[in-house]
Symmetry: C3
Subunit: 101 residues, 3 copies
Amino acid sequence: MKLLRVYFGEKEKHRGRPLFEYLTRLAYEEGMKGVTVFKGVMGFGEKRHVHRSDFFSISADLPMVVEIFDTDEKIATFIEKVKELKFDGLVVVLDAEGFHM
Amino acid sequence: MKLLRVYFGEKEKHRGRPLFEYLTRLAYEEGMKGVTVFKGVMGFGEKRHVHRSDFFSISADLPMVVEIFDTDEKIATFIEKVKELKFDGLVVVLDAEGFHM
Amino acid sequence: MKLLRVYFGEKEKHRGRPLFEYLTRLAYEEGMKGVTVFKGVMGFGEKRHVHRSDFFSISADLPMVVEIFDTDEKIATFIEKVKELKFDGLVVVLDAEGFHM
């Protein structure tokens, strides 16, 4: 089993709608179980490395993470679909065990 | 060492009290160290797979996760206690290293 | 690759500034990519194990976690810098795979 975490800024959109909504719906349609979305209070990614005096204003675009727990195969398939999208973000995969209550 | 993550909806209760309070207190009584509770902004679990036009209203019951870092043995014991409870949720265990400051 | 999670209370400070700001800036200066800060809704750590009747008031100092994804080497270097600081907290490291979009 894998725990997938997809990180991006809350302003990221896909076809005019928030990316987190798109990813959540995609996960739903793919039959994934155990999808959770968290919003952070600050963050920066690979492409937001601009130094500026008002450093902490970079958090205006708050980070979000969509987290999905599923089989290795379903996570791999989902990642392929994520790769087709265009956004600044980060994809992290962790080995995990677990079960639904 | 293990990092345990227990996911459920914020409306889940145990004996009339919020489940996250029960789990946090249980962790405290079991002598666990390093317990953190996060609230998500959206999510769905195994049993909330009902398709409806107002898809995103499913987030009315916001997801929560109780996260505990401890030894393999203490996490295993805690999971046995979690299994005795009745709630819709997800239990995920990750191998981890770490230390207290 | 590693996923680092550093947990502490939001009231922790370093040189008069919030610890989460210091850690985020340090990560930025070290060239880390993929830094996200989350705030929890409740938690306790190793040194807050005081039993009291108003148990849940311990959450007045809300937990925070600074999460960083980077190479094993850069995470190890960052952890050495974290160890030089003084705060009540928890450092957790997870094996991870991933990529930037």
